[in-house]
């Protein structure tokens, strides 16, 4: 029997919303719950592991910074030289001519400072401190070790963040995937049911169309076979009725009963209507 080549389309995926969404939501909800609970557990353990790892890294000792060698003592500086006070000399009158006072009316005073000599003795320059030969290397390796430690601590934190990100991303992907899978999976059940529903509506209206096969991949194949048998059974009943009515009407006409009884005439007319309807239904 042909299946009339109906193809699946994403537009028709939700045929029986109530049934399909109920199942899909159940699957999605369950998975989300599982992911949530186990995810919480993962985060807790990851936090513990990260804390342990970071503590362990912090416990790794780096080479200590080398101490600077003590400064050599400088020679005691000599006492500061005493500078003699500048003693102003006895003022004396300067009798030399003043160009602004050609007449020499103003009194003028001349001050003479005594000169002195200051001798400053410089302190001796201390010798430069002596450091070990690998001093720079020690400092470098200390800072490199510190940087490496910080990097490893940060790396542990990044590892935890990565786990959470991967978990959340895979959770979202899984939820979406499950939703699509659930709808597609239930569609394979809802599809045959929808098809049977269409045929049932025709049966209800007295139309006995040809029943086509399911599409490839559909479920409920056995159930659909039941339906086909049922359809064939009803069809057989109708055909048996048609045969019996035809035979009865032919015999009644041959008997001429319609001419002898009005009641029989009316019954025969009603039976002809039934026969006409049944023949039309069977096509």
């Amino acid at each position: 029997m042909s299946d009339r080549g109906y193809k699946r389309s994403w537009k028709n995926l939700l045929i029986n919303k109530r049934y399909q969404l109920r199942f899909t939501l159940f699957m999605v909800g369950l998975s989300a719950l599982l992911m949530g609970l186990l995810g919480w557990w993962v985060v807790r353990v990851a936090t513990e592991a990260t804390t342990v790892a970071q503590s362990s890294i912090r416990g790794d000792a780096c080479v200590a910074l080398p101490a600077l060698p003590a400064k050599p003592k400088a020679a005691r500086p000599p006492p500061a030289p005493v500078m003699p006070a500048v003693v102003p000399a006895v003022p004396a009158v300067d009798d030399a001519a003043d160009p602004d006072d050609p007449e020499g009316t103003a009194r003028r005073r001349a001050v003479v400072l005594e000169e002195s000599q200051i001798a400053i003795e410089a302190a001796p320059v201390p010798p430069p401190p002596t450091v070990p030969a690998d001093f720079v290397q020690q400092i470098t390796s200390h800072h490199l070790c510190e940087l490496d430690r910080q990097a490893r601590i940060e790396d542990a934190a990044v590892g935890k963040r990565r786990i959470i990100i991967v978990m959340v991303a895979s959770g979202i992907l899984l939820t979406l995937g499950l939703a699509v899978f659930g709808i597609k999976m239930t569609h394979r059940v809802a599809g045959p049911l929808y098809k049977v529903q269409l045929y049932l509506a025709k049966l209800r209206d007295g139309r006995y169309d040809k029943v086509y096969d399911l599409r490839r991949g559909d479920q409920l194949v056995e159930f659909y076979e039941h339906f086909k048998h049922a359809h064939a059974g009803v069809l057989a009943l109708e055909r048996a009725d048609v045969e019996r009515i035809r035979a009865a009407l032919d015999a009644a006409i041959a008997d001429g009963v319609a001419d002898r009884s009005d009641e029989a005439k009316a019954a025969a007319a009603a039976l002809r209507e039934v026969l006409a309807r049944k023949e039309k239904s069977l096509g």
Binding site: Y19, L38, V52, S56, L193, L200, G233, L237, D255, E263
Partner: protein, 236 residues
């Protein structure tokens, strides 16, 4: 107890009470009292193994995948922390014998905790699988049940028997589909009954009609009556 108080015997057919599902034998199933409300039985939960187990398997596999992946992550993290601790203890102990002994004991304790965690996870996973499978069987039963019931009614229809269709149990799914089936079944049954009534009236009018009785007429009438009686019996 008086004899009239003794409840009538109920014949269990194929593990099912009559009225729970339509009869698979000759006569149409009798309409159960109380609207056919029967309780579910444990042995009947797997009605359509292929349909139900497909769902159970799919959901169980997905759950196992989630639980397995996250369980592995948990174990990996825990194991890494344990390794760090053990390493730290070893470094701390150095060549000290007493500290080494303490370190070994601590390492054993950590390993035992790790094993305990694995057992716990396996236990949780197993319990989850059992509970989930059980719940899914119950849930899919609510779909398989109506389909099973409709399937039996359809087999009756295939044999030309259209009895009364009883309603579904409370909690069953596919109510819309079942209502559609019930409507169609009822419509076909009523139509056939009405047609049978017309045939019966015609047979009666023909038999009552005045005139000589011929052998052909008698044969036809007998055939007609048998047909009407058989159909009336099949339609319940």
């Amino acid at each position: 107890m008086a004899e009239d108080q003794v409840p009538p015997a109920v014949v269990v057919q194929g593990g099912k009470l009559p009225g729970d599902v339509p009869s698979t034998t000759g006569a149409p199933a009798p309409a159960p009292s109380g609207g056919g409300r029967r309780h579910r039985r444990i042995q009947n939960y797997l009605l359509d193994k292929s349909l139900q187990l497909r769902y159970v398997l799919a959901v169980t596999l997905v759950s196992a995948l989630i639980a397995g992946s996250l369980g592995y992550l948990i174990y990996q993290q825990e194991h890494r922390a344990s390794d760090k601790l053990e390493q730290g203890l070893k470094e701390l102990a150095g060549n000290d014998a007493s500290l080494s002994e303490y370190g070994r004991e601590a390492a054993d304790d950590i390993a035992s905790r790790d094993r305990h965690l694995v057992f716990k996870m396996v236990g949780v996973g197993f319990a989850l699988t059992v509970i989930l499978s059980g719940y899914l069987v119950v849930m899919t039963h609510k779909v398989a049940g109506p389909l099973y019931k409709v399937g039996l009614y359809m087999e009756q229809m295939a044999e030309g028997r259209l009895g009364k269709v009883t309603p579904l149990r409370k909690g069953d799914m596919l109510q819309d589909f079942y209502d559609e089936f019930r409507d169609a079944h009822g419509a076909v049954r009523e139509r056939l009954r009405a047609d049978n009534a017309v045939l019966d009236r015609f047979a009666a009018a023909w038999a009552d009609a005045p005139g000589e009785s011929s052998a052909a007429r008698s044969n036809q009438l007998d055939e007609l009556r048998r047909h009407v009686a058989a159909r009336a019996k099949a339609l319940g």
